[in-house]
């Protein structure tokens, strides 16, 4: 993959970390403001793609990105199964109260969604980028 231009380098150096921060913000505000796991996952993947375009695939080519999506599925499904411990139905979410801080258990489910979206998109990016003509 080519993209070896100074302009792209300079922009990516700032834009990639910034995108990651925005993605984190978007993930955590998702429950109350626009955002959420899906969008955050896409944004993470966009940051990753930007880094590849600017600096090349490098070691990312040998990372098994699909493992992240499988792990995400595990996170989501086990969040769904947690209510079974209390005799509730699958995916019957609750809200955890940690002092003044409220954490809906749906957040973990959302985390799984984000990981899956990120992992799947990265898999496709990395695999397509390695295709020869």
């Amino acid at each position: 993959m080519t993209g070896d231009t100074p302009i792209l380098h300079v922009i990516a150096r700032f834009a990639v970390p910034f995108t990651v921060l925005v993605a984190l913000r978007i993930f955590f505000q998702g429950h109350d403001l626009p955002g959420g796991g899906f969008v955050a996952g896409v944004l993470f993947a966009a940051a990753g793609a930007m880094a590849f375009l600017a600096f090349g695939l490098g070691r990312a080519a040998s990372v098994a990105w699909w493992r992240i999506s499988v792990l995400g599925l595990l996170v989501s499904v086990s969040t769904g199964m947690a209510p079974w411990l209390r005799g509730h139905a699958y995916l019957d979410h609750t809200i955890l109260h940690l002092g003044a801080f409220h954490l809906p258990s749906a957040t973990f489910f959302d985390l799984g969604v984000a990981m899956i979206v990120f992992g799947t998109l990265m898999t496709i990016f990395v695999e397509l980028a390695q295709e020869r003509r």
Binding site: I26, P34, G36, V39, V42, W66, S69, L91, D110, G119
Partner: protein
């Protein structure tokens, strides 16, 4: 002492446990995995024997799918218990025989063999004891699959592959049809419980009254006929003789092929009054009986000979059910299992010794294999119906029953036909039994027998036990033990009158006639074969089946070539065409059309109009582009302009998603550009262009109408689903603890939908990874 419920559970679970043990520990244990299965079979035989000795009928039921009335219900009534005991006791013998037969085969192969054997045994006992039709079906299919693995044990050989595949195709197809029959029974009667169906005559009446009842009977019979290798599905059994011999003895003589007979026995209380019952069962059974016995005289492979006679005897059992003589079924099954099991196992010994099963190359083995010779003589005598063996007692009882069959008394023509068919079959079985003994063991040794391998050794034990059983039960007739077993194990327990010393009368005359005719048939076997060749007008059933399969394959091939040809343009056109069709159908169902649109141009904001105009321009640019890169940029522009429309209408959620998705798809397009063919393509004819234009126009129109309808206020009552009190907005806050209703819907209120979607997403990622990786690795 355990309660009956646990005994039933243990009897089914112990072979499965042995199978699991063999699978997991097989590499370490080597031959030990065989002993595991022996132990499993012994423990399940012990449980079943304890059940048989207990006075009450044991049962256990655990809810499985309560909303559909399906339960894991097991019940040990006489018939089921008899069949289960037959399976487990034969299982012990066959597993013991296998230990010597497989010998020092490699551990991995033995592991697979014994694991499949254990699964098969457990599923067969499950069929015998299941009290729920759905559970019975599950066990039924498990026997089909495990028998496929067992038949295909020597999977490197082409013959084996073909035979195992054919057995699976036929029995699995029949099993599926049978499941439809079970569902129909459940539909008509409202229950899947076999004991409930059998005990309440109202269910049988309901099935008789409903047209679905006849369909159910046909479907269930189809399952039974495929499993028991009855006409017209009789061809798979000889092909399945590629299995290791103990497997043939177990599956194709003693147990699995009897599952069809067993199923018919279970259906007697339900369908015996149906007008189809007598002609179908007596017809199928009678034809299979005569055809199998005749074909056996023409085969040259020892095991194929036995397989054909098995089909014949199973046909006889089908016929017994058809003519209303169900009370003899257990006696018939037991008799057949004993002598046919012994003969199969002897065939295995002969094969081991002489390295051939071709009867034309065998002869004079009585000196080399004295014990198998004695066993074969006894078993063949039982098959021919000679006193004092069980075969004689059973045959006398069979003829006696035919004379007094209630259904036959009303049909004189059918009665003559059935009697003649039974006589001819008896004679042909005598001829085959004599041929088996005479051409393998008597006479002078031929080439193959001279340079022979090992003696029989431990292999003789299991067939010896079986032959001794046939002799012992025959001799025990006067004590009443044999009749007692036959009565207790029958699907319709009625007193059986068995006698070792026959009275002078028609049954004895028929036996003697069969014997004499059999000798004649053996003498004139060449003339008989020539005669048969002249009579054969139909093509061989196996070939018909193969051409039917080939036709299905050809159909699939033609379909793929026409509709799944890899042309992306064609896929896109077909997929797009679904939009106007499906949306149009939905709108028509709701009674909506463009006339209901309540949006006017005044509702359009100036910014909205501006962006819409730009979208149109970008779309036109995309279609006019001369390079693919330009087209990609133009269509990306469309996407980002749509995002701007969301800005105008203040929907930040969709805006965010749209922009990100558009970004990601642009990256995808860039990655893919280099792999795509030359652009623009100008190879479409005038007609195809018009067709594509038509599809595009109809998609555009449909989506426009749909969107305008969606914006029309007050059209549907779901309009204020979100904002009304108790609507989604308040629900999101109360239930999900969030104010962003969109996200709360995704992760909480409709989380199960999301759960499905993320699974699809993971699967897609893995598929793309797998496809691209393997292709790159291959290149």
């Amino acid at each position: 002492m355990l309660d009956p419920g646990s005994l039933i559970g243990f009897s089914i679970l112990s072979p499965f446990a042995a199978a699991a043990g063999a699978l997991l520990l097989g590499r370490m244990l080597a031959l030990g995995s065989g002993w595991l299965v022996v132990a499993g079979a012994v423990s399940s035989t012990a449980c079943l024997a304890a059940l048989a000795l207990s006075p009450s009928v044991g049962g256990v039921s655990v809810p499985w799918i309560p909303s559909l009335g399906v339960a894991i219900a097991l019940r040990a009534d006489g018939f089921g218990l008899f069949f289960a005991l037959l399976v487990s006791a034969m299982g012990v013998l066959v597993a013991l025989y296998s230990l010597a037969y497989l010998g020092a085969a490699d551990a991995d192969r033995a592991r697979r063999y014994y694991a499949s054997l254990g699964v098969f045994m457990g599923s067969m006992i499950g069929i015998a004891l299941a009290d729920d039709l759905i559970l019975l079906f599950v066990f039924w299919e498990m026997t089909s699959i495990s028998s496929f693995l067992l038949i295909g044990h020597r999977f490197e050989e082409d013959d084996t592959k073909r035979g195992a595949a054919m057995a699976l195709q036929v029995t699995a197809l029949g099993g599926l049809v049978m499941s439809v029959g079970f569902l129909l029974i459940g539909q008509v009667t409202g229950t899947f419980s076999l004991s409930a169906l059998a005990s309440d005559p109202a269910h049988a009446r309901a099935l008789l009254a409903s047209p679905l009842g006849a369909c159910a009977l046909l479907c269930v019979l189809c399952g039974a006929c495929t499993k028991s290798a009855q006409v017209p599905f009789h061809f798979w059994l000889p092909q399945a003789m590629v299995a290791p011999t103990p497997i043939s003895a177990y599956l194709h003589a003693a147990t699995m092929v009897k599952a069809g007979v067993f199923l018919v026995g279970r259906m007697v209380p339900l369908f015996a009054d149906s007008p189809l019952w007598f002609p179908l069962l007596a017809g199928i059974g009678g034809v299979s009986m005569v055809l199998g016995a005749y074909q056996a005289t023409r085969e040259t492979d020892l095991k194929a000979i036995l397989a054909r006679t098995t089909g014949s005897t199973l046909g006889m059992l089908f016929m017994l059910y058809g003519i209303g003589n169900a009370s003899q079924d257990a006696l018939g099954m037991l008799n057949h299992a004993l002598y046919k099991g012994a003969l199969f196992l002897v065939a295995g010994i002969v094969d081991h010794h002489a390295h051939t099963r071709d009867i034309r190359k065998l002869g004079g083995l009585r000196h080399a294999l004295p014990v198998p010779f004695a066993v074969a003589a006894l078993a063949a005598a039982s098959m021919a119906g000679l006193p004092p063996l069980l075969g004689f007692v059973a045959k006398e009882s069979l003829f006696e029953g035919l004379m007094h069959a209630p259904l036959l008394a009303a049909h004189p023509v059918a009665r003559v036909l059935v009697l003649l068919a039974t006589l001819v079959t008896g004679a042909l079985l005598v001829a085959t039994a004599w041929r088996f003994v005479a051409e393998v063991f008597l006479g002078s040794p031929r080439d193959a027998a001279k340079h022979s391998g090992s003696g029989a050794g431990a292999l003789s034990i299991a067939p010896l036990v079986l032959a001794a059983g046939a002799l012992g039960l025959g001799l025990a007739t006067p004590s009443g033990l044999t009749a007692r077993i036959g009565e207790l194990g029958s699907s319709r327990p009625e007193p059986l009158h068995l006698a070792l010393v026959p009275h002078l009368g028609w049954p004895l005359a028929a036996s003697v006639a069969a014997l004499l005719l059999g000798v004649l048939a053996y003498r004139g076997r060449e003339a008989l074969a020539a005669w048969g060749r002249r009579l054969a007008v139909l093509p061989p059933a196996a070939r018909v089946w193969q051409s039917a399969l080939d036709a299905v394959m050809a159909l699939g091939d033609a379909y793929s070539r026409r509709w799944e040809n890899g042309s992306l343009r064609w896929y896109l056109a077909a997929t797009s065409l679904c939009v106007p069709l499906l949306v149009g159908y939905a709108l028509a169902r709701l009674g909506l059309s463009y006339r209901a649109i309540g949006v006017t141009l005044q509702d359009l904001s100036p910014y909205g109009a501006l962006f819409c105009g730009l979208i149109v321009l970008a779309a036109i640019a995309a279609t006019r582009a001369t390079t693919r890169l330009a087209a990609a940029i133009a269509s990306s522009a469309v996407g980002f302009l749509v995002a701007m429309v969301y800005v105008v209408y203040r929907s930040p959620d969709i805006l965010l998603t749209q922009i990100l998705i558009e970004t990601v798809s642009t990256i995808f397009m860039l990655l893919l550009l280099v792999h795509l063919p030359r652009f623009p393509r100008r190879d479409l004819g005038r007609g195809a262009q018009l067709l594509n234009a038509g599809i595009a126009a109809s998609v555009g129109l449909t989506v426009s109408v749909l969107l305008l309808l969606a914006m029309t206020p007050g059209l549907r009552e779901t309009d204020n689903l979100a904002t009304r009190p108790g609507g989604l907005l308040s629900l999101a806050l109360a239930e999900g603890g969030g104010t962003n209703a969109v996200n709360v819907i995704i992760v909480d209120i409709r989380a199960l939908d999301t759960n499905g979607e993320i699974m699809v997403l993971v699967a897609v990622g893995l598929c793309i990874f797998g496809l691209l990786r393997t292709r790159r690795r291959a290149a």
